[in-house]
């Protein structure tokens, strides 16, 4: 079988031992999806994923009402800008930003206390996570619409999801005045059990439903590693016509292959459903040109200005040169750096979009002339 970007994957010995190969989970996970499985599905303790051989499989299926993507989500949200800075918990001292940035983001890790700990070289789940319900009262969030990106390390995501009822997660979040929240970004990793991928897609959809049931507009978070999963998403969007936006967290996708896979997925979905817009977190600007005519459906959620400012790095622009952008150490205050970096990143995005749109226009003209 070929993966989503047509690179060939030979079935492995583990493909045949994956329960999905028998058709047990069809039509929600097809037998041919097992051909991408490259490691054993034996995983009795549910380490990282819940596989087809998990002794607790039924409990996980019950939690999300099976694998069928029949979850209805109806959230409509206002029109979003193309650039949205993402703030973190260190921004409480920041002044109010200009009205150029009416919508800002915040990540799960920043609104949770004791969600995870870094100890002995690994992330450990925090025993008593609590929600920083007052974070969004900081001045920099004044008059802003805020999107919660429910993304972060697996140790955090899984911990919060597991304890969501105990810590009254949705109830507390619903009182924080959010514009919307993205679905939990449960991981999908190439080569892992095909059932676990289908389950994580459904778990993410279930989280959207739980947001919506708590009165928070939900933005589905989309991952897909093969054309079957992508097709199921397209079918799902067709049956949920109110949804205009979806999100993809690209912060783990560093290799060219992985980024190509994200681009292919977005082109696949937007090519079929041009009404949709996607919010990308952590996507490299230099690859925006790969979206061609779809660039106007792409929105960027950008945490890098704040992260760079925290490291005392200033974004510098050199318009009209090959360098265009660089980072330099700066003695400016963190607040000043954040404001500078956000402005520069927005200018860069506008520049990239203008370039792509100009190419679009000129190729349109060429077609007319020819």
């Amino acid at each position: 079988m070929q993966d989503f970007i047509e690179s060939h994957k030979s079935p492995s010995l583990f493909s045949l031992s994956c329960e999905t190969s028998t058709g047990k989970f069809a039509p929600y996970v097809l037998p041919e999806e097992s051909s991408t499985v490259q490691e054993s599905c034996e995983n009795p303790y549910n380490l990282n994923v819940v596989t087809c051989k998990s002794p607790d499989l039924q409990a996980f299926l019950n939690e999300v009402d099976g694998l069928e993507m029949n979850t209805r989500v109806n959230s409509r949200i206002v029109k979003l800008p193309h650039y949205m800075p993402v703030f973190d918990k260190n921004v409480s001292h920041l002044p109010t930003l200009s009205n150029d940035f009416p919508v800002v983001g915040v990540s799960l890790i920043d609104i949770i206390n004791n969600g995870i700990m870094h100890k002995a070289g690994s992330l450990h789940e925090g025993k008593e996570p609590a929600i920083r319900s007052s974070l969004l009262e900081s001045p920099c969030f004044d008059n802003k619409k805020i999107i919660l990106f429910t993304s972060g390390p697996d140790s955090l995501i899984e911990n919060i999801w597991h304890k969501r009822h105990r810590i009254r997660y949705f109830e507390i979040i619903s009182g924080m005045g959010l514009l919307a929240a993205t679905g939990f970004n449960f991981s999908l990793i190439n080569g892992e059990c095909a059932f676990s991928q289908g389950l994580n897609i459904k778990r993410s959809l279930q989280s959207c439903l739980e947001y919506e049931n708590s009165g928070i507009a939900a933005i589905p978070h989309v991952y897909a590693l093969n054309s079957h999963q992508a097709r199921r998403w397209v079918d799902w969007f067709r049956s949920n016509p109110n949804i205009e936006y979806f999100a993809i967290n690209c912060q783990l996708q560093k290799s060219t292959h992985d980024i190509n896979q994200v681009i292919a997925l977005i082109n696949y979905i937007l090519g079929r459903l041009p009404r949709l817009h996607v919010i990308l977190q952590g996507f490299p600007y230099k690859r925006l040109k790969d979206f061609n005519a779809l660039i106007n459906n792409i929105h960027i959620a950008d945490a890098s200005p704040v992260k760079n400012a925290m490291g005392h790095r200033k974004v510098l622009l050199y318009p009209g040169t090959k360098v265009y952008k660089s980072l330099s150490q700066s003695n400016l205050s963190v607040s000043e750096l954040i404001l500078n970096n956000i402005d520069c990143r927005k200018v860069m995005l506008d520049h990239e979009r203008a370039k792509i749109n100009n190419v679009k226009k000129s190729s349109g003209l060429l077609k007319k002339v020819s």
């Binding site: 380490l47 607790d56 409990a59 002995a120 070289g121 690994s122 992330l123 450990h124 972060g152 996708q253």
Partner: protein, 116 residues
Amino acid sequence: MGSGTDRKKKDKTIIRTPEGTVTSRIVPSRGNFVADICPVSFDVKVKPNIWAIQGASITMTKNGSRYILTISGEEIGSLNQRLSAIVANCGDLGIRYSGKIVIEKEVIHARFHRIA
């Protein structure tokens, strides 16, 4: 935290069985039990030793109620009673720990990671 080719090595978690779900299983999930009692990783301070270099593999051997740490047969430290009990209990569940020397800020640690 993503989709792609590789998981982050430091981000390995046991996915706990959903709370409040009804199952036909009488025994609680083994995964939850392991997540409760077997830490993802732990550090043990060890004595400076000629073999205790960054990345050196450590052997953990049970000696009475304690575990002794050695590199190439040379003892470099031991687990305290509490950690020894944890490692023994986790061993009974089939969980092992693999250890390497880590030197951070000139302090030498034996760092162990859970292998489920």
